[in-house]
Symmetry: C2
């Protein structure tokens, strides 16, 4: 099962860090962009190409350091189809290098539209007997505000050979998350209702590692939040954003892990892929690797992956 | 202001119908796909090309009948970059023909990622002094589960010259919407909390028509729901899905309109663009036009646009 794949990759590299590939113009080293513009002019193609080179070089540099990467669709699609084309290449590279690959769409579609996305992303498209996979990945990150209609179309793809995962945003790490997600409803808050649903969607879909194939995004924004959710939902795999540029404490995020250091992964993006901006004279892949190693050491104070 | 643009187009054509351009393989007439495959082979390009021809022919055929169209990004991006490229062409055609154009991404991003999308979609990209607009449109449909951090980056684009709109999913029309959106919190349900937020985001952003530049998606799934929301939120412009293939009653959706027949629009997709499947011997643009005219007459029993 796919959640076992993620957990085994984490155990192999002894670190539960997921690097977010969220390129923006500010994160691209000027010399890399200049090189692309020298070949392609100041065009959308050149910027897209620089995103591609940037991500592929990072993928190469981090392959022995992190088990998984998360690709942010918004960054690429902001450039139009040229960006999407490059994103597809980045996904293919990541899969080829052996990463567990998450695709963050943050979308919420229902019914036949969700089914269409699930089939395209997880199953691929068949043309003239040839199956092509436009977005090679292991998991999608989705928004569950529309309820089961938006999630159930993905569930058939979470079992069998070549099974995939989905992660549902339960409690995001941004400041305003509370406005909706922390509203009190009866004896629970809204994001706990979302966690309950996530658990229900994962019913009968468990990996050998004991965690469900439908995971949850749980931000490390407030100290107690992760801890409480971990206690209540001991079979949900948590993706935990917020410890990088957003500045949440690694100590708080560490509550997401079980006693074996399993059941969770930390997502960081800008603080790793943009680390070159803080380290003059260091090339961006080395700066990223150093940032990963630093976070690894911070996390090791609290979590040991067995 | 942009919501005035939508309202004035509705008043001009005397009908508040928005046609959803959500192409799927089943909705493409076989002869149209065959034509594309004859030229391009059985390839993703051929299917994407058929989506493009299908949508552009519909846009031509409906331009005197409906004031607005809504393009569903998921349908196109399911095909990979070839689909996204065609979607960009469809958006450009729709704008050129004078439609008010909505782009449905159903995404929820925050902070700099949301700002990036807002700038790309609403402002465009500048390369070498030339500004290009990858996704020409008047409005985005977004998911607000992440709260203000996910919406505020769009607000600067809702004022001034060339102002845009956003629509936030308040209450979706699918069956399972209740699982999250109808949870009771204090004296209101979650989707009313979302409507309250939407109203707050629209503060100081009102068109001359009296409606806010931040609109709400409000499904016509339950009889009383739309009516109650209309009473409480008399300055929110409502986009109302659910009356087409989902089978909600036009009578219930009609509660979304004010006494002048303003302040709302009905979204229909499959029941219009797939109408050719029910009308043997009728070409798809004529079948779509007939379906629009039929819905128009149904709606006119309850709503007169003044």
């Amino acid at each position: 099962m796919s959640i076992d794949l993620l957990q085994s990759k984490i155990r192999k590299l002894k670190t539960p860090i997921v690097v977010g590939l969220d390129p923006t113009p500010e994160l691209i080293p000027p010399e890399l962009l200049a090189e692309c513009e020298a070949r392609l002019g100041k065009t959308p193609e050149a910027l897209a190409e620089s995103y591609g080179l940037f991500c592929k070089t990072l993928l190469d540099g981090l392959k022995k350091a992190v088990p998984a990467v998360k690709v942010q669709t918004a960054c690429f699609s902001a450039l139009g189809w040229q960006g999407v084309k490059v994103m597809q290449e980045v996904l293919a590279s990541a899969k080829k290098l052996g990463y567990y690959v998450l695709l963050e769409t943050m979308r919420s579609d229902v019914g036949h539209i969700a089914a269409l996305t699930a089939e395209s992303v997880f199953g691929g498209l068949e043309f003239d007997g040839v199956r092509s996979i436009p977005y090679p990945c292991d998991a999608l990150v989705l928004n569950g505000y529309l309820g089961s209609d938006g999630i159930k179309p993905y569930l058939p793809w979470l079992k069998g050979e070549n099974a995939k995962n989905i992660f549902v945003v339960v409690r995001s790490s941004n400041r305003s998350a509370a406005e909706v997600q922390d509203l009190i409803s009866g004896d629970r808050v809204v994001h706990r209702a979302m966690a309950d649903l996530t658990l229900r969607w994962s019913m009968d879909l468990f990996g050998k590692c004991g965690y469900g194939e439908v995971g949850a995004v749980v931000g490390a924004a407030s100290p107690g939040a992760v801890q409480e959710l971990r206690k209540r939902y001991d079979t949900l795999f948590f993706l935990v954003p917020g410890c990088g540029a957003q500045g949440c404490a690694v100590k708080h995020a560490a509550c997401a892990f079980d006693r074996l250091g399993h059941g969770a992964a930390l997502c960081v993006s800008r603080s790793v892929i943009g680390a070159w901006r803080e380290q003059e004279g260091t090339a961006f892949p080395e700066a990223a690797l150093a940032a990963v190693e630093k976070l690894k050491r911070q996390l090791e104070r609290y979590v040991t992956v067995l």
